[in-house]
């Protein structure tokens, strides 16, 4: 496994780190430079090819608004939008999404102006603990873009892949409906 390449100390090591630190320097495996179109910017990331988009967003880019609940594609918590469509960041590799427009929760507001969904979620208490909220907001945004006035059943079906344990979903449905009216 690449993580465990043992470093052999050599006499001609060109720098003078203390030995107890030097032995921890090791081969970290091949990294790649990825170019991502993220929240309207082009960003470059240096990361191992097997690192998921979720990990790259959270750990390399410090965009921790994208959450993780299972890292197996079951809960919807890590939802981002790819070219406007909901996708699970825990099941994607950065190499797959180069060239696509990625939107995370950090890119939902325009400047300091919140998206109407963000306003209504906040007003009605549709975010309780708030952990599933980013994924649900992005999924709802994708819905409203393709269907600006969805009925309640359509909202339920669109959001059925996003689990929430706090709200009983009721306030979320009301907030999406209110946002649709206001948009």
């Amino acid at each position: 496994m690449a993580y465990f390449g043992t470093l052999t100390l050599q006499a001609d090591v060109p720098y003078s780190l203390p030995l107890h630190l030097l032995w921890r320097v090791k081969e970290r495996g091949m990294k790649h430079v990825f170019q991502l179109h993220l929240n309207g910017e082009v960003v470059e990331v240096l990361a191992p090819v097997h690192k998921t988009l979720l990990e790259v967003l959270r750990e390399d880019l410090q965009l921790t608004g994208t959450k993780h609940g299972c890292e197996l594609g079951e809960c919807g918590t890590c939802t981002v939008l790819l070219d406007g469509m909901p996708a699970l960041a825990c099941l994607l590799l950065p190499i797959e999404v180069q060239g696509q427009e990625i939107l995370t929760i950090e890119g939902l507001a325009i400047g300091s102006t919140l998206h109407e969904l963000q306003n209504t979620f906040s007003e009605l208490g549709a975010a309780q603990c708030g952990y599933c909220t980013p994924g649900i907001l992005l999924t709802a945004m994708a819905l409203l873009r393709t269907n600006p006035m969805p009925d309640r059943q359509q909202i339920k079906e669109a959001l059925a892949g996003n689990l929430c344990r706090c709200t009983g979903y009721v306030k979320i449905l009301e907030a999406v409906e209110l946002a649709a009216q206001r948009c």
């Binding site: 993580y3 965009l63 208490g125 309780q128 708030g130 599933c132 909220t133 339920k156 009983g168 009721v170």
Partner: protein, 801 residues
Amino acid sequence: VASTYSIIGQPVPARVDGTGKVTGVTRYADDLFLPRMLYSKLLRSPHPHARILSIDTSKAAALPSVFAVITGADLPQPYSIMPVNQDEHALAIDKVRYVGDPVAAVAAVDEATAEAALHHIEVAYEPLRSLMSIADALAYPEERIHDYNRVGNVHRVVALEFGNVDEGFHEAEYIREDTFFFQGNTHLPMEQHAAVAQYTPDGALTLWSATQTPHYVHRALATVLGLPASRVRVIATPVGGGFGGKSDMFAHEFCAAKLSMLTGRPVKICLTREEVFYAHRGRHPVLMWVRTGVKRNGAITALHFKTFVDGGGYSSYGVASVLYTGALQTVTYKIPHYRFEGLRVFTNKPPCGPKRGHGTPQPRFALEVHLDKIAAALGLTPVQIRRPHLVTPFSMTVNHLRITSCGLGDCIDAVVQRSEFLDKVGGLPFGHGIGLACSAYLSGAGLPIYYNDMPHAGVTLQLDRSGAVCVFCGAIDIGQGSDSVLVFIVAEELGLDPRDVRLVTADTALTPVDLGSYASRVTFMAGNAAITAARKLRAQLLEVAAEALQVTVERLGMAHGRVYVTDEPAISMPFVEVARRAEARFGTLSASGSYTPPPLAGKYRGHGVGPSPAYSYTAAVVQVEVDPDTGWITVPKVWIGHDIGKAINPYLVQGQVEGSVYMAIGEALMEEQVFRKGVHKIPSLLEYKSPTFLEMPEVDTVLIESLDPEGPYGAKEAGQGPLLPVLPALANAVYDALGVRIDEIPITPDKVLKALELRDRGQEPRVGPRGVPAFSFPALRQVERPEEWLQVVPDPGTRRP
């Protein structure tokens, strides 16, 4: 009565933390990244029950990029949330007691390295007989999971009698016995538990953790790590869902702290989803037997209740849990004689603990289904067996619980009327049914977990000359809205815009103690502390304002950022001006308030569980559609009436009620924490079924405001009580739909089909336990009924406005 409040009870934006949560800015524990941070992983037992013969960590420790490896020997001090049973170690020392029991911990440069290093730790186990059920635990007393409990695997046994139950049964005109089983289930918070520890060479430790109880974690960390509590700081990060699942202290918190001490670097740990299923501390599986005597009109003459509680591998909250399975039966209907026998056993499964309703949803399910069976036998409707026999407001129960406000009658009337229950029950087509049930829950536990006479909650306010107030409180917002409640209360008292009230919460170094977000205690207790603190500050501000405006203090009010003369509102002064004058007069402005519940405990062993300064009440009607060919149950609608006392914010309360209904639907229909040979059968979010948007019924919520005399503005709890009646109401609805009884939770399609098959074969159409184990409880502890039994308790005179 028109509300005189500008914020309390008004549909103002529900949450003060909303913006952070909808923008992704809120930092949960796993969102914290510190410079030089290491990552930790725990090695967990693959055996449900085994002796540890040896642990060799040398190979793992020698790996590059591994910085430290620890075992039980590094953290020898035991701990537990309950002072009476200090039976846990951060890492197992001589024995493992469930699959997933932590054995060793690694700190490494990243998660993958730490995970891989676990495979290089060599542990030799000697497997022991594993006890996987209540029956096993009782059948093999010689195979002891712990050695500190008196006999076998009996963790705790309770046998209490209030009044004279035999006499009560003698007076009965009908007596019925039933048995029920409630399978365990788990909280399933969307956020996995995570913590970051940072120890600095000056001897100070800081732990950021997703915890509902930073105060208890603080105490335990100091003890286990051998540090003075004054140098340990616990900061509860915003909790991404708790439901009781983050109210215990956990191995990973101690391990991260110890690893940080050893390495001198910050250490983060985040449990995987699978680990969260094993960390658990969720709903106990409970087997129950109930015998009730009633008059022909449904009045209860005596109740005898037995519970057999499957505790898992450790004590956790278990001493309280088993008492809770017997405590609150008396709080809804008049019960003149009551006997409770309860037993908690150790088994080789992840320890159970508190989940929303802590120990009370199981007996409430049994009691409310049992009452419906009695009603059917007596020819009474589900309303007739309940409505006339409710407890009297301001009375004592037979087991010494003080009831204050009670709006249960109004709750029942509301849901019965709105659902057209009496027109529907017994009259819907086959496959369609409707059911009713009631419940009560605590607004905070009346007694602390460790006995002391200090406040349960404290709030400090600091006012600066900008006109902003900062609230310091140990309470942690787990989604229930405690941050918002604190801000709304202070803003109301001082007439401020909520945006001018800031918060510092849940930091043991900065905030006064609040015992934690459990037992539905925060609005009631921290809310009362906030009112006290705010009124002290208000008195100082009004004193200087009265001088400046040349009026008496009594004529002044505070609202909309101004101090004004109530009968002549044109005469006023901006709040910020008053604040400046007050600071000039009194110096730096601050005020503290605290809350201690009144003395509520009865005089008997076990009295610590059940008392509360106020009880919330709930009634639920559930309508179901059951497909007799598949057994599939659909719930189109739930009507729920909740006696909230007073809604501090209607959106927040509705959110709590709806969330409770949701969680109840999940428990009633699909959620179960089940094991095969000690291994969790379904430890993933896909296979552990929980309701999605598509399964969630429509909810008709009615809030009943009974204005409790001791609650803040009259408020009581909202976060747990509304879960309780939904499960039995659903079970009663399934009976109404099909004429079969499922006396087990969850009510799954296979059980429905089995019951229908039994009916077709001419057998009793029921699925449920046939009996309870032969266990001889110890001699009953006879407790006199309180002298003021059934008399009205005088209003204590501390009514809040």
